[in-house]
Amino acid sequence: MEIDRRAFIASLGGTAAVAAMDSEAKADALEHYMEEQLNDQVAQQGGQPEKFPTVAEIEAQIETRNVRRGAGSLFASGRGNVKKLQPMPKNATLLDFFKLRFDPANHVLQSATRAMKTGMSEEIILACLCHDVVLNLIKPDHGWWGAQLFEPYVPEKTTFAIRYHQTLRFYPDPEAGYEYPDQYYRIFGTDYTPPPHIEATYKMLKNHKWYMEPRLVTVNDLYAFDPNAKVSIEPFMDIVGRHFKQPKEGLGMDNSPSAHMWRTIANPDSPL
């Protein structure tokens, strides 16, 4: 495979960033870059359907990595070394976290933008804005972790939507406009079946009066993977102002049940 050297270096953050990497990190970064290029080429091969992995094939990859797939994005870099983070300000707000820890947050911003443009409720728009940011902290069970992170600060419907969007992502609902995405074949395997607790949660949700709250998060989720989309958090500041109970002490310093989670996101380099 031919590598565009300039594009590769740019993808790592420029020549200065490359110079700071040790040889092992450079090798890892090159391998990862080539995998991505290959994936792009395969995806562009018109007429040939993509071959998705099985659950067993995905499991066989576990010992090829030095980081588990569930590690939050702040704790592992897919390309080279992790970068030094800017310190959080005193009395940190949700906006500070978006700018300094969740950036670029492109997926959640796209999702919330679509919710706004299609006339959804402010609770749903806020849920879309927040639904995946906990992936910076941890990935498994991100619906539950995300709901726990935001529960002290957002409306109950928003928490409900964040918690259960994870479950509903596995179940198509054409009536509501949700299809099973091919990316789930890619990341879970073609023969994956959700575990019993997810099945049980789905059964509960089907008859719940708030079923549509997490369902609408999944609907917007599906359409928020445009690599060229230009989005920003500015259009959502009024909704955040109306619905997000910003603690005056700052997120992480207010002794709420999830304050420790915000502190961990603020200080991911803390050894203990």
Binding site: P172, Y178, D182, Y223
Partner: protein, 133 residues
């Protein structure tokens, strides 16, 4: 798109609704469908069908006329088959007035071989003539 069969070539009857000219350009069949809103952006997610199903992807051409009001909201399209059964799509109309002319590929997950009769866009009905479905 893998495994696509094109069932129509000539454009369908033009319908004007809320300042939009719309016509069905054809229907394609495929096991997967690209999920892009209308007008289409660059979303990279595809929908997948199950055994015994396929996507009937209805291609629609749009032209925005001066009478079109910005911020007009349109309901998600619905397709009706020859027996009168309706099917929904995941595609929504987003930023419709942002570009003067555009074409959308609207996927409907249907039982394999389902023959389509018409496409409903908000309160407008676009016939899918024989040979196009």
């Amino acid at each position: 798109m893998g495994g696509v069969s094109l069932a129509a070539q000539s454009p369908g009857k033009m319908v004007t609704y809320k300042g939009l000219e719309m016509s069905v350009a054809g229907v394609e069949r495929a096991p997967t469908a690209s999920l892009k809103d209308c007008p289409p952006g660059g979303n990279t997610v595809n929908a997948t069908s199950r055994s015994g199903e396929e996507f009937a992807v209805v291609k629609v051409n749009f032209k925005v006329l001066p009478a079109f009001q910005p911020n007009t909201m349109l309901k998600r399209p619905v397709v009706t088959d020859e027996s009168g059964k309706t099917y929904n799509t995941a595609v929504s109309f987003v930023d419709v007035g942002s570009t003067p002319e555009f074409a959308c590929a609207i996927p409907f997950r249907v039982p394999t071989g389902t023959m389509l009769k018409s496409l409903q866009i908000d309160a407008a009905t676009l016939e899918i003539p024989a040979g196009k479905h």
